[in-house]
């Protein structure tokens, strides 16, 4: 049996009353290691909920989610934290940088909950900052950077722990198209190192830069360019 990076089996999410909205209904999805996947769809289609469930930030109301073969529904809250700390990286539209910290410390925060000594964290952070092209910015405060630079710092923070899967929620949503293209290139480039990248986007150009596109309508997958570009 093949172990997939991510495996969703009949995943549904219904929010409790009074809203009682069905955000996801019977999602089946497998993502192999090293794939780059764009999830597209209208607002309210369930993209963000899907990403949260993939990232163990939220539990589904039905179905199972396996990350590298591990069924996450059986895991306790601290165990889910461990999965996030060791296997997953997150990038957000709003960056969520700690403004008062230096760029280097922001990136090192990505390793904070792994229990490594601060010196090791900063050494790794410096390496990753070099990879994302911000070696000259390590000492700046996060608040002093441009939008594109801020998202690069956020990506560096997400990949400093070398996660198997990187989940990105509208990573270019707050950036102009040129800057966004640079970020997209950076994210798709991560797949060369074997990192699985799943991102949500409204932007067709960003979606096209990923090898696989999955589109959602009303919490269901309506189109999927398939495993490794093939048809499912």
């Amino acid at each position: 049996m093949t172990t997939y990076a991510l495996e969703l089996d009949g995943v549904g999410k219904v929010y409790p009353p009074p809203t009682a909205v069905t955000a996801l209904a019977g999602i089946d999805l497998v993502v192999e290691a090293g794939e780059t996947v764009a999830i597209t769809g209208q607002s309210g289609a369930g993209k963000s909920t899907l990403l949260s469930i993939l990232g163990t930030l939220e539990r589904p109301t039905s179905g199972t989610v396996r990350i590298a073969g591990t069924d996450t529904s059986a895991l306790s809250d601290p165990q889910l934290s461990e999965v996030r700390a060791t296997r997953l990286g997150f990038v957000f539209q709003q960056f969520f940088l700690l403004e008062h910290l230096s760029v280097l410390d922001n990136v090192a925060t990505g390793l904070l909950y792994r229990g490594m000594p601060g010196k090791v964290r900063r050494e790794r952070a410096a390496e990753v900052l070099w990879e994302v092209g911000l070696a000259s910015r390590t000492r700046h405060r996060a608040g002093q950077l441009s939008g594109g630079e801020r998202q690069r710092v956020a990506i560096a923070r997400a990949i400093v722990g070398r996660p198997a899967v990187l989940l990105a929620d509208e990573p270019t949503g707050n950036l102009d198209s040129t800057t966004g293209a640079g970020i997209t290139e950076l994210l798709s480039g991560l797949a060369h190192d074997g990192t699985t990248v799943v991102l949500i986007t409204h932007n067709d150009a960003v979606a096209a830069a990923m090898r696989r596109q999955v589109s959602l309508v009303d919490g269901r997958i309506v189109a999927d360019t398939g495993l490794l570009g093939g048809v499912a």
């Binding site: 934290s81 000594p117 601060g118």
Partner: protein
């Protein structure tokens, strides 16, 4: 490998959180600082004021007095002449001195002062052994010597000199005792255990007998015993003074007066400490308030940390540490302010600076406790926040 947060990192995260909101943190810490300063200063100032009395108590604790009981008509019956030599023979008695009240003799500056205006002063016959026994010393001039038995000279108590307006003996100074002028040769410093000496004009027993026709017996005897034998000596004093048991005498320990004054100084400490405690409580509520606001403002950060692998426990620890460190910083500042206030107050009051070690310890402990309690609810709230909800900000 489970996700974990090393303790030094937790401290780092908490201090970084505080540093990102410096003014707010400083103002909340100031509240704690003021409350802790109040507590430390109250304890310190009370202790400094007591320190001097306690030192006196150590010196005066072995002083005993024997006085004749007042008779029905208000006149004091002198003690037997044998009393003083008998008391001196009790083995643990170190020194003994006798004074005799000279009744119905006024102390005046001159004849221009009406005789009724006594100023609360009286005349006492005293001996040379008064100074060593009372641990008294002279502010001005010299004490009654051998010639005082034959000449009209007097030494004034501290208060008496003040009432009579005598601040210097550079020029020959005379005062009127009854209808006789006496030359002032000296002025005593205050004698805290024997306020009756402070308001007296002291003359020799010889003069008291010759000029005022006083009986030779003393009216009061002061003695010092070995400190660990004070109670035993007090027990035999009555029998030693009046062996036949015909007259009544009063045996007293004047240091009880100091004990009472120490107790009086301590009376308000509880009240002020209570007020300090209330101030601390208010400061704690302030910190809790600030921390709740901080949790609301930092939902994004909380969500991010959860996404990075922080457990609920790690988030709770972060906020709990923030409020505790905030309070601790306030506590340390408060201790410094409190000690400073104590030093200033002690200097102004002429007391030794004595801050009991328990004061800063209690201040810091109280600050830490208040900080931890204030952080509990905000920390629990931050930890309860679901990551998705936290990230759905802005």
């Amino acid at each position: 490998m489970p996700s974990r947060l090393r303790f030094p990192d937790a401290i780092g995260v908490a201090t970084a959180g505080l540093r990102s909101r410096r003014i707010r943190a400083a103002l909340s810490a100031l509240g704690i600082a003021i409350a802790v300063a109040a507590v430390v200063a109250v304890l310190g100032i009370a202790q400094s004021a007591k320190a001097q009395l306690l030192a006196q108590l150590g010196e005066e604790g072995n002083l005993l007095t024997v006085a004749s009981a007042e008779s029905v008509n208000g006149r004091t019956v002198p003690l037997p002449l044998t009393a003083e030599p008998m008391i001196a023979r009790i083995p643990p008695v170190r020194t003994v001195t006798a004074v005799g009240s000279v009744d119905n003799v006024t102390v005046r500056r001159s004849r221009a002062i009406p005789a009724e205006q006594t100023g609360g002063m009286n005349v006492l016959a005293a001996q040379g052994s008064l100074l060593p026994t009372m641990s008294a010393h002279l502010l001005l001039g010299r004490y009654l010597d051998a010639t005082a038995e034959h000449y009209p000279v007097t030494v004034l108590g501290y208060e008496a000199a003040k009432i009579l307006g005598i601040g210097s003996l550079d020029a020959p100074t005379q005062i009127l005792l009854g209808n006789h002028y006496f030359t002032v040769t000296g002025v005593l410093a205050p004698v805290p255990v024997a306020p009756e000496i402070d308001v007296a004009a002291l003359i020799s027993f010889g003069q008291a007998e010759r000029v005022f026709a006083r009986d030779a017996g003393p009216s009061r005897i002061y003695l010092r015993a070995d400190p660990d034998q004070v109670a035993a000596v007090a027990g035999v004093l009555t029998a030693t003074t009046v062996p036949d048991g015909k007259d009544d005498v009063q045996v007293r320990r004047p240091s009880d007066l100091l004990v009472a004054r120490i107790a009086a100084k301590g009376a308000f400490v509880g009240l002020f400490l209570g007020l300090g405690g209330i101030a601390l409580l208010i400061a704690g509520v302030g910190i809790a308030n600030i921390m709740v606001i901080s949790v609301l403002e930092r939902r994004g950060e909380i969500g991010l940390r959860r996404a990075l692998g922080a457990r609920r426990r790690h988030v709770a620890t972060q906020f709990l540490l923030e409020s505790t460190l905030l309070a601790a910083a306030g506590g340390v500042l408060g201790i410094a302010l409190g000690v400073l206030a104590t030093a200033v107050a002690a200097r102004l009051g002429g007391n030794p600076v004595a801050v009991p070690l328990s004061a800063p310890a209690a201040g810091l402990a109280a600050a830490l406790l208040v900080g931890a309690l204030a952080g509990l609810y905000p920390a629990a709230r931050a930890a309860r926040l679901s990551p998705v909800e936290a990230l759905r900000t802005l």
